[in-house]
């Protein structure tokens, strides 16, 4: 957890509106874990005021990758960076995916830009594990399977793969994993995570959810990013106690 002035190296396009940027951030790269995020100052002046949080998409030696789509002014400014620009990044932040536990098959479930943390996770899942990735999008242009393994696709409009949402898709194929010990790693829009949480908790499937909330600081001092505890007894902080939570820990 440190502030690192990082050099902007390059930008590539993943889909029409989705970008992948590469930055030189040796110190953050060294300690980053899958599912953690960084809080990025997207400009050199005070507009926008707050940093913007992004999942660590991938780490390659001293380089970190972030994947994002254009949302508002902050992501637009990030997209418009040029080679050699300096980015002020705080990271690695939060608690990432818990790779421990008794399982032999990792199920990755990503909705839309929820794919962002999975290239790095995929790389870090022990080699002896099986990986199945379920990737969903509204339509085929929104399906992002960048650097993911063993991918099955679902689209809301049926334009690619399964016709329906990715959680339905996963449910429809749950029997395939009957003989396996599975652990689910998921990231995506809240309604998707909620549906998945319900399913996994009901079926007693070990499940890790990466959630998003608005954030100011990103490291626990503003209390701006609460998420209700599963038992309703107060709040956890998404930036510090998450962004990845066990599906039994939080109420979505």
């Amino acid at each position: 957890m440190l502030i690192e002035k990082s050099k902007f190296i390059s930008k590539t396009t993943i889909t029409k509106n989705t970008y992948l940027i590469k930055v030189l951030s040796p110190s953050i790269a060294r300690t980053a874990k899958p599912g953690q995020f960084c809080n990025i100052k997207v400009s050199e002046n005070s507009f926008p005021l707050l940093r913007r949080p992004f999942s660590i998409c991938d780490v390659d030696g001293e380089f970190i990758y972030f994947m994002f789509d254009i949302h508002g002014e902050g992501t637009r400014l990030l997209r418009d960076k040029n080679e050699g620009d300096e980015l002020d990044i705080i990271g690695p932040l939060g608690i990432g995916f818990n790779l421990q536990w008794d399982y032999d098959t990792a199920i990755i479930i990503a909705g839309g830009l929820g794919s962002a943390p999975f290239p790095f996770l995929t790389k870090n899942i022990p080699a002896n594990m099986e990986i199945h990735s379920f990737v969903g999008g509204r339509t085929k242009e929104n399906v992002i399977d960048y650097k993911m393994k063993n991918v099955s696709v679902a689209t809301d409009d049926g334009s690619n793969g399964f016709y329906g949402n990715v959680v339905e898709f996963f449910k429809s194929r749950i029997d395939e994993f009957a003989a396996k010990k599975i652990k689910v790693f998921a990231c995506g829009p809240n309604p998707m995570l909620k549906a998945l949480q319900n399913f996994c908790n009901e079926k007693n499937i070990n499940c890790q959810l990466s959630v998003e909330t608005v954030m100011a600081c990103g490291f626990g001092i503003c209390q701006g990013c609460p998420i209700e505890k599963y038992n309703g007894d107060g709040y956890l902080l998404v930036c510090k106690d998450g962004p990845v939570f066990d599906s039994m820990a939080v109420k979505l």
Binding site: I3, S46, L49, F219, G220, C222, Y235
Partner: protein, 305 residues
């Protein structure tokens, strides 16, 4: 040793420099200590403490606005007891000067909190938050009521010999009237300002972006208002002022000293640059050297009007 004497005094409190970190923007110091050396900061003001722990408001608690942010955290805090047990040891260890901010729903609760905490040697002063706009039962009512502010000042003074700072609400017509009451009831300083009441709505859902409906506006957007409030107090009431509101840079901090602040607090800026306190301190020190100011306290209220 610095060439500039950075020390300042507020009542009987001596600080190594005028840089304080504002309540609610540093938690209890643990997390920000990863980024900044708290022992070098003038002091830190804790998140508002109440007698009992408070879970805070349901999400969404914050939203960004032009050059500012709205928050309605709802005074989420661990409560006085847990604070003493688990937070003070850390703050002692990092050798930080500790100012304890207290928020309560009744005069009795203010007094009770102060009484419990005053025996903690590491607490050097109290900042009484009479102005949190997000707590329904208490906060706002007190902050807008001259008599209540006077009573809280007088009653908390009775139970501690440590300096009492009253943190004033900007959501009043004449803030200097409140400063006068604090002075006359024995308060040692006023902290000005807390956040301005604001809101923002989602135009598609027509719901407030913040669950609490309104929140407190902080950040550079409010700096001109904060400066005007500090100046108003400075011109009308001889009480030490701790300036707060939208400080991002050392230039901003100096502006607060010029309009009358003896010390100042850094709030929202901590979220953006958790080392801003020390960056600002360095900038001020260089400014002093460059302009031949040997004692930083000589900057206070040097406005030329």
């Amino acid at each position: 040793m610095s060439k500039v004497d950075l020390r300042i005094k507020i009542g009987s409190l001596e600080l190594k420099n005028p840089v304080l970190l504002a309540s609610g923007t540093v938690g209890y110091g643990n997390e920000i200590a990863n980024f900044t050396d708290l022992s070098k900061i003038g002091g830190i003001v804790t998140k508002s403490l109440s007698l009992k722990p408070r879970p805070g408001n349901p999400p969404q608690r914050i939203t960004e606005t032009p050059s500012g942010m709205l928050n309605a955290i709802g005074l989420a805090n661990v409560g006085v007891e847990e604070f003493v047990k688990s937070k003070i040891p850390f703050l002692k260890e990092v050798n930080s000067t500790l100012i304890c901010n207290i928020a309560a729903s009744s005069v009795e609760e203010y007094v009770e909190c102060t009484k419990i905490l005053t025996s903690e040697e590491s607490i050097k002063a109290f900042e009484i938050n009479v102005s949190c706009p997000n707590v329904k039962e208490g906060g706002l009512e007190f902050g807008n009521d001259l008599k209540a502010v006077g009573r809280i000042t007088a009653e908390t003074k009775k139970v501690t010999s440590k300096p009492i700072f009253i943190k004033l609400s900007p959501n009043v017509a004449r803030i200097s009237e409140f400063a006068k009451v604090v002075l006359s009831e024995g308060g040692d300083a006023v902290s000005a300002i807390n956040t301005l009441v604001g809101t923002s709505f989602n135009i598609w859902t027509k719901k407030p972006k913040i669950r609490n409906i309104t929140g407190g506006l902080s950040g550079p957007a409010i700096r001109p208002v904060a400066l005007a409030k500090v100046l108003e107090i400075s011109r009308n009431c001889p009480i030490p002022i701790i300036g707060i509101g939208g400080i991002l840079t050392w230039q901003d901090a100096i502006e607060f000293m010029i309009v009358g602040a003896s010390a100042f607090q850094i709030g929202t800026a901590n979220f953006i640059n958790p080392n801003s306190g020390l960056d600002i301190l360095k900038g001020i020190e260089e400014f002093c050297i460059q302009t031949n100011v040997t004692k930083i306290s000589d900057l206070t209220a040097t406005y030329q009007i």
